[in-house]
């Protein structure tokens, strides 16, 4: 049995320790906001925070997490930067199909938590791991700046 702290709630899960966190969240805990996109940490759709740091949950063995706090898209609104990013995403109408946006929002929230006033280069560096097939990148860049202004 593995104990996980997800969005400040404890969960005991009976899964193999090498099972990636992504599938524990989605298929065991039925928290489907975190998305499967590629399975090889290429697209960022599965991004969650571990103690505030963005990680790709599709390759993260659940047994390696220990007591670190997991934050998912369902809980990121409770963090100051997460709430700001969510609001900016809606204010600038970033989202199209939306499938990648859980991961985009998680990456953006983590960026603002460490770098409250990112420039274009900071945004490119932090967000280049998140693919959006709808091509919402122009608005993602604008929305991160808008969220930063709201600080």
């Amino acid at each position: 049995m593995i104990t996980l702290n997800v969005n400040d709630q404890g969960h005991d899960v009976d899964v193999p320790p090498d099972m990636p966190l992504l599938w524990v969240l989605r298929d065991v805990l039925a928290m489907t906001g975190t998305k499967f996109g590629c399975g090889i940490a290429q697209c960022g759709a599965c991004t969650v925070h571990l103690d505030g740091t963005p990680v790709r949950s599709c390759l993260l063995p659940v047994g390696s997490i220990g007591a670190r706090k997991i934050t998912t898209i369902e809980g990121v609104g409770a963090t100051p930067t997460g709430a700001k990013v969510q609001k900016a995403w809606l204010d600038l109408e970033v989202i199209q199909c939306g499938y990648c946006q859980s991961g985009q929002i998680m990456s953006a929230a983590a960026l603002l938590a460490t770098k409250p006033k990112p420039d274009d280069a900071d945004i490119d560096a932090a967000m280049a791991g998140n693919i959006c097939r709808c091509g919402t990148y122009v608005r993602i860049r604008e929305a991160i700046k808008k969220a930063a202004e709201a600080a």
């Binding site: 489907t32 998305k35 199909c97 499938y99 919402t136 122009v138």
Partner: protein
Amino acid sequence: MKPEAFAGSAALPSPSRRTFIGAGLAAGGALLLGFRMRSADAAGEAAASPFAPDAFVRMDRSGTVTLIIPQVEMGQGTYTSLSMILAEELDVDWNAVKVDHAPPSDALYGNPTFKEQMTGNSNSIRAFWMPLRKTAATARAMLVAAAAKRWKVDPSTCTTGDSQVLHAASNRKLAYGDLLADASHVEAPKDPPLKAVADFKLIGKPLKRLDTPDKTDGKAMYGIDAMPQGLKFATLRACPVFGGKVGHVDDSRARQVPGVRQIVVLDDLVAVVGDHMWAAKQGLDTLDVTWNEGEHANVTTEAVWRKIRAASEKDGLVAKSEGDFAKGIGEGEKMDAAYEMPFLAHATMEPLNCTAHVKPDSCEVWVGSQVLARAQKACAKITGLPLEKVVVHNHLLGGGFGRRLETDYVEKAVRIAQKVDGPVKVVYTREEDIRQDIYRPVYRDVMSASLANGRVVAWKHRVTGSSIMARFLPPLFEMTKHIDIDGVDSAVDVPYDIPNLRIEFMRDEPPGVPTGFWRGVGPNNNVFAVESFIDELAKKIGKDPVEFRRGMLGKNPRLLAAVNLAAEKSGWGSPLPARVGRGICAQGAFASFIATVIEAEVGDDGGVKLRRVVCAVDTGIPVNPDTIVAQLQGGLVFGLSAALWGEITLDKGRVQQGNFNDYRVLRIDEVPNIEVHVIPSGEAPGGIGETGTTAGPPALRNAIYAATGIALRRMPVDRALLARKTS
């Protein structure tokens, strides 16, 4: 929006049947309105379905208005735009509007253009613009009539607004919710008055999308998120060679994987069922399968190209002939060129998936599909169940791009589910999603033209490629006498004034490779060929590309205006550094008139950097201007991904790409600002979802041409060709 707004089709009441535009009270006193467009056959089919309310609008006494949207939401904003059209003519309070997916039914929710329930070809607004307005206007007229009768006044003295009927002379008003019972007894007027464009309150405003709040906090439900009680998880592998079959399967190791519950072996695929996707995937990875690869085991990309190149040199079927091409080509300066487009995968962010529960007497499916009724029919056919025993729950689509116009993934899931006790969610790995795609076909466009007095006097364009229509809509293919009308879209209607024209279609099917629609469809290929060739013709006679186009757009004022605006906003003609160029694309595809200027830099190593993109669009009445801007921005990125990176290749009959590491798409650090200027218009709305995809590759190709003088004639961009020679 509350999460229950997307409760799914099963949550809808089952109302009584109506003819054409009709209305009635359903359980709970909700007023139902709808229109019917289809034949008696289709009506019969709809009557058989317990989940088919013939209704686009549901109002309840509390004033909540639920709009049931026949077209699926895959990011293009159609839930919001179609809702705006309905709400506008209905005059309801926009804040009280809720949206629901329509259940499967060609009869009730068929796309008026395709005669079946289908979301594609950028046509949702074009197809439903008048039908939805008329439906909503009918409802409004009936509510007005009900109020007028109660007040004993002339209906023409009443007005509407914010879900109320108003009578200004007596300062009285009644909420729609209080009029539902009366209104349902009013005879539906035949030709209710539509609002004048000048009176629009919602249409033309950049209203917030209805579907996006749930997409910021994980609540939005895509097909892959379906979690029916007792669910098991599966992933599959089909024969990596198209058309091949399963030979021998050794599942001894797979059965040892913790959490693996079942191995399903069908004639063309294997699937592993487990307690979660991780078990299923590990099980699949340890399954030892040998395949009977069949006749396509030796197919290579080179063989595909040899075949299509040979076919493209022969005469095709004449899709259009104007003037006298044979005579015209003999006059003036002649030029020939051929352009080639690769196979492309769709790579929707949401990998293909479908959840199915097959029981002896019923089948239930959870999926995101662009063709809901087709999906339902496919399930009925496989299971042998009557249509009404197949329940399909539609979901938001994590991208469609034409991939979800197909039902192959639904069929595979149902065939697997037939072997499984209880519901099973079948999720493709990304690799399987890429390798079992239905690909944008390879095309070869052979062009000939002659030039005199600074313009084109004769033009021949022969499109050679797969006919998607022959498979997808066979009756249409027969009706058009084997000319694929999608294949020649934007070729037959080349936007320039050219007196002698000959457009041909030559069908050539790639051996074994399944081909299907891909965002931008036929115009993708044809706008690229036309706009690349136009640039080469301009250069041949030393004309500026924008000037050259302007000279031939006299009869196309909307496109001319777009070209002028894009040229102005992009600073066309102003000096640029070495190896930086601007390229233009002008197009009239999907009944929208768009000019796009891309500024790009070509590095010494042949790498291409996008610097700036400027787009001017006249798409008629802009229903939601912000959505138009978003679709162009996104569509351009989609098209530019293909231009810079997209190519599916084959060796030994197998697709060689498998994930985003080798099937690359643009990332944020490769995408510059994209400016979109929407031109005001009172014309009927055009299509927009695919237009950017069509615009990107030719504008980029022409920018590279301007920067380097190198005329690229194939996509994707060949960096080796662009690298500066050091010797």
